[in-house]
């Protein structure tokens, strides 16, 4: 595989990718929490009455 690059340690790039990883985990947990908190109210607003989407 001539010309192919072997990854070398680069703190700035590691920080960049780590930031994306952290954002993804925070969003998974955060949106999950928001869904549990506000999901039923949102369903009530969208559908009207006691509806269950799940």
């Amino acid at each position: 595989m001539a010309g192919l690059e072997i990854p070398t340690w680069d703190p700035e790039t590691a920080l960049l990718i780590g930031t994306i990883l952290l954002e993804a985990i925070v969003l998974y947990v955060g949106y999950g929490g928001l869904e549990r908190l506000f999901g039923p109210y949102l369903m009530k607003f969208l559908v009207g009455g006691e509806a269950n989407a799940r």
Binding site: E5, I20, A24, Y28, A53
Partner: protein, 351 residues
């Protein structure tokens, strides 16, 4: 200090209007990804190319977005027990080499000044091909994309496709491995599938799921939910490594990726919840149509760029984003309508 760090990561270079556009586009892409389990992410790179980002930034940021999306989706599939870690670990090697070969090709073509054009042509062929296949299947037998009902079956209930059985019986080069769903296959078959899809990922900045999932089902023979979950797990690693390599070359712009991810994580929850309500078959034809429109749009944008017509370039961009928005709204509209209908029927029965 913070300013220079944020600037170095590309955050400060994105205007508020662009951030809003990326959040909105991410939301749309997330709805499509959550609903169909694939497909949304490969609209991002062509859209970035049409917004005049250099090819390595469009591909690198597209890949970093795929990485973030895969992390979120893998966490969910892990909770459902749908990830084969052994299969994923074997695939990582082949995919890694494939991605690196694809990435090196992009930089080589960029040095020749051909990257944008060739990547766009590859997208036209790929989106057109997959779009035509999905549309044909949707019209013929309502197959294509992810079968939501199939994904709910037990792993033991899955039949191995004939082609996978033939491959398992023909290619018996040791070492052989046993996978979830009672599948026994040569490591070399897995590696070949991984390399081919990795090459595509590295070249186009896509997760490669829309090629890898059918390949895992039809070439390796694993059950659909395991193919989906393992594919996502594998994308976490391949996407992470690909993003790191692109990031080293300055190809990952956090000002693009962060808002896209912010929108898509929410959209994916909405799309995923919609699968419990809406029959996917009715919407698959729109999905196929969206891919076909995407192919035409990239072609129009590329012609516009070639002949120097900003109007054609804008038309291409509007078509790509417009097609995705229309399908996402179709999903939301159908979901809310179905919920209201079910509630109405429930009320009538009670009465």
């Amino acid at each position: 200090m913070l300013d220079s760090l944020l600037d170095g990561l590309g955050i400060l270079g994105t205007s508020p209007e662009m951030v809003a556009l990326f959040v909105g586009f991410g939301l749309v892409v997330g709805v499509l990804f959550g609903f169909f389990g694939m497909g949304g992410s490969f609209l991002v790179t062509p859209a970035l190319l049409m917004l005049d980002y250099p090819a390595p930034v469009a591909v690198g940021s597209g890949m970093a977005f795929v990485f973030g999306t895969a992390v979120i989706a893998t966490l969910k599939h892990h909770d459902l027990g749908q990830v084969d870690y052994k299969l994923g670990a074997i695939m990582i090697t082949g995919t890694t080499i494939g991605i690196e070969a694809g990435r090196a090709s992009v930089y080589y073509l960029e040095s020749l000044g051909l990257a944008g054009g060739i990547i766009s042509v590859a997208y036209v062929v790929l989106l057109g091909g997959v779009g035509a296949m999905v549309t044909r299947d949707a019209l013929k037998s309502n197959r294509g994309g992810i079968d939501h009902e199939a994904a709910d079956k037990d792993l033991d209930e899955y039949e191995i496709p004939e082609i996978a059985k033939t491959i398992q019986q023909t290619v018996r080069i040791p070492p052989m491995v046993s996978l979830r769903g009672d599948v026994r296959v040569s490591v070399w078959v897995i590696t070949a599938v991984a390399f081919a899809t990795g090459l595509l990922s590295g070249f186009l900045g896509v997760g490669g799921g829309f090629i890898r999932m059918p390949a895992m089902i039809y070439a390796i023979g694993v059950p659909v939910p395991v193919a989906v979950g393992t594919d996502l797990f594998e994308i976490v690693f391949s996407g992470g490594l690909g993003s790191y390599l692109y990031g080293q070359g300055g190809g990952v712009n956090l000002g693009i990726v962060a808002p896209l991810l912010f929108g898509s994580a929410l959209g994916a929850r909405i799309g995923s919840a919609a699968t419990a309500v809406v029959d996917a078959d009715g919407i698959k034809i729109y999905f196929g149509g969206m891919l076909l429109i995407g192919a035409v749009a990239v072609g129009i944008g590329e012609i516009g760029s070639y002949v120097g017509s900003p109007t054609l370039e804008l038309l291409g961009l509007v078509l790509v984003i417009g097609a995705a928005v229309v399908v996402a709204f179709a999903i939301l509209y159908t979901t809310i309508s179905s919920l209201r209908q079910k509630r109405h029927q429930g009320t009538s029965v009670t009465d």
